[in-house]
């Protein structure tokens, strides 16, 4: 969980940083999208680096889901009889919503690829410029899509708030002082990431990026 999760978090930050390029200008954003395909050339053929990245990400996601499934099955087996009385959680809310939160994020990622990568569920088609898919996809008239993105990104934030700290713990963080620090860093990173991701769809929906 920790190793595959770390790779995914690193990707999320690179992806979020790239998104912000749209605030520089739509042609710059398209230029950035094209650069992602040029990356690695001429050592690698066109777009190969991108595909290597994509397969790496798929492997990380696969390992992450596999580990989560094993843990869930073990948890179910470890408590065959449920408590009749189970009050609200004692520990962190984020920690207790990791599993369903993860499922929601997977569903969101599928939608997100169909929407902005392939353009299947986007008013602009897959052949259009990347910036057009963003601008038309988050059009004020499609406010419900923006709302869905906001909810999903907040779910990612909750997932990371526990996930980042938990990964640090799994890798052997073991002091009480370090625990407070790691939790604070996880919270800050999650909030920053959510803010970076939300800025683009909200800016488009409110007409700040045209």
């Amino acid at each position: 969980m920790a190793a595959s999760g770390t790779l995914l978090v690193l990707f999320l930050f690179a992806h979020a940083a790239g998104n912000l390029k749209i605030f520089v200008g739509l042609p710059d954003f398209d230029h950035y999208a094209e650069w992602l395909r040029e990356l690695g050339t001429p050592l690698l053929p066109h777009a190969w680096f991108l595909w290597i990245q994509r397969f790496g990400l798929l492997a990380a996601i696969g390992l992450h889901i596999w580990a989560a499934t094993v843990l869930t099955i073990r948890a179910k087996k470890a408590r065959p009889v449920k408590y009749a009385h189970r009050p609200k959680v004692q520990g962190s809310y984020a920690a207790r919503t990791m599993r369903w939160g993860g499922v929601i994020i997977v569903l969101f990622v599928i939608w997100h690829i169909l929407d902005l990568t392939l353009g299947v569920v986007n008013p602009a088609t897959g052949d259009s410029d990347a910036s057009q898919r963003v601008v038309q996809g988050f059009d004020p008239e499609r406010w419900y899509v923006t709302l869905f993105y906001v909810l999903a990104v907040v779910a990612v934030g909750f997932h990371l708030r526990h996930g980042i700290w938990s990964a640090v713990r799994t890798m052997g963080q073991q002091t009480t002082k370090g625990e407070r620090r790691a939790k604070a860093i996880a919270l800050v990173l999650s909030v920053v990431l959510v803010a970076m991701y939300l800025s683009v769809p909200i800016a488009v929906t409110f007409g700040l990026v045209k």
Partner: protein, 247 residues
């Protein structure tokens, strides 16, 4: 105080069980939770019913025998307190209190509120010891131990092995228990020779006993009557990583 308790009644390991409600009248607020059950049991015996079976021994919070999930919280609402040290003044007159046994596949119910915790013994047998040399006992100050290590080792050693961590864990994991045992031995010079094999073997025994995996949810430390810190799980993870990379 007049209260109503709903208690898990199960006549034997393979029998089915259910929650049964009892009215308990005239309980002193200064009675402990176990004394309240004692009073209830006296009335049950007088009525010719089977008394509620529950684990208890020292009744002063140090043996780890008492094991009740009270209103969904292992050892009840009072933090860092065993069930035997919980008093009825923490409840209100007229309260309805649910009492259940630890719920874990590795802790099968023997009767009513008593569970078989020998899975913890299996974890200890796998490596929760140091191989002590025979002969006369060495002087206590013969091997210097840094004060910081001694304090943390002592904190870990206060684990009484009650199993509340497992009862509270959403994954039914015994990680906090195993981490406490690994830490209190691994922090001491005497615990070094077996430090690597200990963590590998105890984790294997934990998995074999049918406990779940740890996801750092942190519910265990919230109910631990001895306040064993969650950070010890990080220590276990660190020891485990070092042990498997050395292999």
């Amino acid at each position: 105080m007049d209260i109503k308790v709903r208690v898990w009644r199960q006549s034997g390991p393979s029998a089915g069980g259910k929650m049964v409600a009892y009215d308990v009248k005239g309980i002193s607020p200064d009675a402990s939770f176990l004394e309240m059950i004692d009073v209830l049991n006296e009335t049950l015996i007088l009525d010719g019913d089977d008394p509620i079976a529950f684990d208890h021994d020292c009744r002063e919070g140090i043996c780890g025998a008492c094991s009740m999930v009270i209103n969904g919280v292992a050892h009840g609402p009072e933090k860092a307190t065993t069930t035997c040290q919980l008093h009825m003044r923490k409840f209100k007159d007229g309260d309805v209190i649910d009492v259940e046994p630890w719920r874990a596949a590795a802790f099968p119910v023997i009767k009513d509120l008593i569970v078989d915790r020998s899975a913890f013994d299996q974890i200890i047998q796998a490596g929760g010891y140091i191989s002590a040399p025979t002969g006369t006992a060495p002087d206590a100050h013969a091997t210097p131990v840094p004060k910081k290590d001694a304090d943390l080792a002592f904190e870990a050693a206060t684990c009484i092995g009650c199993g509340a961590c497992v009862a509270a864990c959403p994954n039914g994991s015994s990680m906090l228990f195993t981490a406490a045992k690994i830490s209190h031995l691994g922090l001491m010079p005497q615990g070094q020779p077996e430090r690597d094999s200990r963590v590998i073997d105890m984790l294997q025994a934990q998995d074999d006993a049918g406990f779940g995996g740890c996801t750092n949810a942190g519910e265990c430390t919230m109910v631990c009557p001895k306040g064993i810190p969650l950070s010890l799980i990080g220590r276990l993870n660190s020891d485990y990583r070092k042990a498997i990379t050395k292999r």
